[in-house]
Amino acid sequence: MIKLLKEYLKVIGYTFTGLVFGASFFLLFINFYHYKDISTKLVKADSSIQKLQTVNEKLTEIKGTVSSFNPNLYNGPKERVMLMTINSRMQLCVKAFENEDLNKMLNKKEMTITDVYRLQNLYQSQIVNGCIVTQLYELGLTGENAKFHDEDLAKIAPFIKLNADSIREDNDYVSKVLLNNGSFFFSSENSKTNIYEMTRDSYAEVSSSYYKSIDLLLEISRWFKGIVGGA
């Protein structure tokens, strides 16, 4: 009887060992797969790299406008202080767009999900906060809230406000979506595809918002050039 009982103890002991072995094996390998899944790289299409080069051309045009303005030579009807303020704001925006880290991240040929997250953070701090919200947003205010009371500026103000609002709200959700990549249960083809799509879509969202920002700055610089003429 005791012998039988002890044989049962042995069987139960081995059963528990086997279950723990299985659980541990499962956990270890699912983690290997998940590690591989989230380190999947997004290879950028050639068209998106070419599109990035157009940003440099736009930036050169803006820089030309900003540097050509000389307040001492301006004899037009507009307030010099206002023009100088707008010019200096555009200068700050150009500096934000020329940020080394941001450009390094944008020019990468292959991007992991972490790169997209870092790009989003840099874009948020440098372009959205450093340029759109603090420098350009006020140009779009009208009525009592307007910072500058100018007829010409009031004409393009709704356009600036609309774009600035859209850029501000564009990639708020991107960082929230990206945070989900650390949560997992079963690694499958489906989850792998989800992670890849998350990387691709988030990058597309951030880059399109980036293009929108440079276009807004370009439009303002063109308006500014039209106002100041050759001064």
Partner: protein
């Protein structure tokens, strides 16, 4: 060969237990600091480690061959402790998990707390298996003694059979 393998895994399981304990301690201390929790509460998290260590010491001092010479059990222990160390290291070093960047410690606490339950279940599973194998081991000794006794009686009977054969042949 099996003896050498067993000896290797037996030694390795202590090394890996130390590694698993160390890495988990590092992550959990950072986690408790971040949450501003009382460090004394860490003891509750490490109860399974203490229990398994006590069981290993009992196995070692009482020379319980059912556990110490059990290759499968030793391999499982190694695998479990390696997994625990791997999970802790992954929460620290896997740069592709975005939550890692959300705090100043650069440790993915979210991921580690997700797998903490699995870790506890695995260690308690090892403890239960250890206890069962520990008690089943003593039966082997009894069986061996009985087998030896039976063996001795058979040896005594053998000459009788030979004698009978001899008688038949006669």
């Amino acid at each position: 060969m099996v003896k050498i393998l067993n000896g290797m895994f037996y030694f390795l399981k202590f090394v890996l237990l130390l590694a698993a304990f160390g890495t988990s301690l590092y992550v959990l201390i950072a986690m408790y600091q971040r949450l501003e929790k009382d460090m004394i509460n860490l003891i509750y998290v490490f109860i399974p480690y203490i229990v398994i260590l006590v069981l290993f010491i009992i196995n070692m001092f009482f020379r319980q061959t059912g556990v110490t010479k059990n290759v499968f059990y030793n391999i499982t222990c190694c695998l479990v402790f390696f997994t625990i160390a791997f999970l802790a290291l992954r929460s620290v070093f896997d740069v592709n998990m975005i939550y890692r960047w959300k705090n100043t410690y650069h440790i993915n606490f979210n991921f580690y707390s997700d797998v903490l339950t699995f870790i506890n279940v695995m260690i308690y599973g090892l403890c239960i298996a250890n206890v069962f194998l520990m008690f089943s081991e003593s039966s082997f000794k009894l069986n061996k003694k009985k087998e030896n006794n039976k063996g001795s009686t058979l040896k005594k009977e053998k000459p009788v059979a030979v004698q009978l054969d001899d008688e038949e042949t006669l």
